[in-house]
Point group: C2
Chain length 333, copies 2
């Protein structure tokens, strides 16, 4: 109410209450490596772990952003709230010219306060992109979004990173782009839980679909359970065709991982990777100062040999002594 003083709420509380303004600011702080952001993230962690995480990847031009827009609409019809972390392979020259149709995604979300979309630039994220993506996903999870979609363009390492974050990875292909053989050769089907042949109205769609289905991809979680048969779905994101099928397949996979112990393995793997990403990025910064002088003075061997010696030394030193201060021991395998 106007004129009534509200009690001061922390950033974490405001984010957990769903404030888009404060969530957006927090993610900017994360990108810039602000210390305060880490403090807020610690407070948010207890509200994390509820969202369903969907990764969407595919080559440039496969229509991922249009597909994500269509997925948002479909999920909203089922009353589910949605967060999107869009990883932007930005060029320092163009500021992100590789992306064309992100506008469509924004359009799908316009005016809907239950959809929160945020881009992360592939450069500039202090502490590494994978760490920033993990944090942004946690922010949206803590905001209470039912589903968080992570979109990444198939250039570089990003598609392998989201495979470590998402519960379900949707691989978007287009007919005529490449045959099943090419996709298999690239090793990319290893991370796909659901394959979508987008632009299914194109002439080669039927061939592509037949080839991919014919191959019969399977994925297997840890343990000896049944394998997951990767569905191959024909869609047209632009015409909103096949979208319900994709959401159904994604949900089926999510249920499958939950009942087979696979989901816990994914979540553990994500937290392990997050730890290793953050620790190694911070160590890199510390090492640049700590070891620099010794290298310059020729007290160390060549940089790579010195690095190997240093790693051996660190692992030995930390195995000998427990981590002090925290009262928790760092265990060696």
């Amino acid at each position: 109410m106007k004129g009534v003083m509200e009690p001061t709420r922390s950033t974490a509380e405001l984010v957990m209450a769903g404030s888009v303004l404060h969530a957006g600011r927090l993610i900017t702080q994360i990108e810039n490596g602000h210390d305060e952001a880490r403090h807020t993230m610690r407070q948010l962690m207890r509200s994390c772990g509820k969202a369903q995480l969907i990764g969407v990847t595919g080559p440039p031009g496969s229509g991922k952003s249009t597909l994500v827009a269509a997925l948002i609409r479909q999920l909203r019809r089922a009353q589910r709230t949605v967060g999107v972390v869009a990883v932007d392979p930005s060029s320092p020259f163009s500021g992100g010219a590789l992306l064309g149709d992100r506008d469509r995604m924004l359009e799908a979300a316009s005016g809907d306060r239950d959809v929160f979309i945020r881009s992360l630039a592939s450069r500039g994220a202090a502490g590494g992109l994978a760490a920033a993506v993990n944090d942004a996903v946690d922010v949206m999870d803590a905001m209470g979004k039912d589903v968080v979609i992570i979109e990444t363009v198939g250039v570089g390492q990003g598609e392998f990173d989201i495979a470590r974050i998402a519960h379900t990875v949707v691989l978007v292909l287009v007919p005529g782009y490449g045959d099943a053989l090419q996709v298999m050769k690239a090793g990319i089907t290893e991370i796909a839980d659901v394959i979508v042949v987008n632009k299914g109205d194109l002439p080669d769609a039927r061939t592509a679909l037949k080839e991919l289905k014919g191959h019969g991809f399977t994925r297997r979680g840890p343990g000896a359970g049944e394998p997951w048969n990767v569905p191959v779905i024909q869609a047209s994101a632009l015409r909103q065709e096949g979208i319900a099928d994709i959401v159904a397949a994604v949900n089926e996979h999510y249920m499958f991982t939950g009942s087979s112990g696979w989901r816990q393995a994914i979540e553990r793997g994500r937290r392990r990777a997050q730890f290793a990403d953050v620790a190694s990025a911070r160590l890199r910064a510390e090492l640049l100062t700590a070891a620099g002088q010794a290298l310059d003075d020729g007290q160390l061997a060549d940089p790579c040999t010195a690095a190997e010696e240093f790693v051996r030394h660190v692992m030995a030193a930390t195995a000998r002594e427990p981590a002090s201060g925290s009262g928790r021991e760092m265990e060696k395998r």
Copy 2:
């Protein structure tokens, strides 16, 4: 001679003798993270440090590969041997479809055994791309190449990484691509020692050239010396125009860095970054196993907090004890 047994030579010796076959194999081993490669690299280090290192970067479509081809021809005319490390922003989907005109570069080198060109894919390099680029540059240096050109496409972090490796960074722009303002905003001119306006025959070339020259970019090494005035050069790589000017400007900058103490600072910075890159990448791998169980068991706080505690602990532990075995102390700042 046929039939005569040669004494067995080590890979390092064969590379130092200029063997393209063995240098190529070694770089493949480096990409794959082979232990043997590290052994060979250690032997090669004593032959490193002689080559002139030129970085070439710019937005996709600026004609970098064509320009590199023209530079190779120009350098060969002056009897200088050339190595090229081309960083390929490969997509796992396409296997490198972002690149069009690398063929021109290969054409310039065809049949000339004093030119060695090698692509590195941006994914798959175990231990990080920057580390692999540094190693590949060292291999070409040890082969005895007078000049090593590092070419990278302006997508992501690569152009900032080569600025840490090369003695001289050549920034390639095209008229009409973007005005000086846009380039300045992107912060990219901070790393440019020589700016080339390629495709100088295009209609907007004169405007672009005037704008860039009008700005008067300068670069400054460490210390209080004179600043370097960044030359802006009009060229047409396709027509082989302006290429001699570029080589002259690059050599002038190389001389400048040598007389001002700047070059030693660049080389020290490169070795420091190499140490930090290799150490943090190896630590990341070690941490995934060492800390994984403790994270899973809930003995550690949330991953990011745990990572920060771990880093503090490592830095404290390594500061207390000298690195054992090597007889060299790891100094703290």
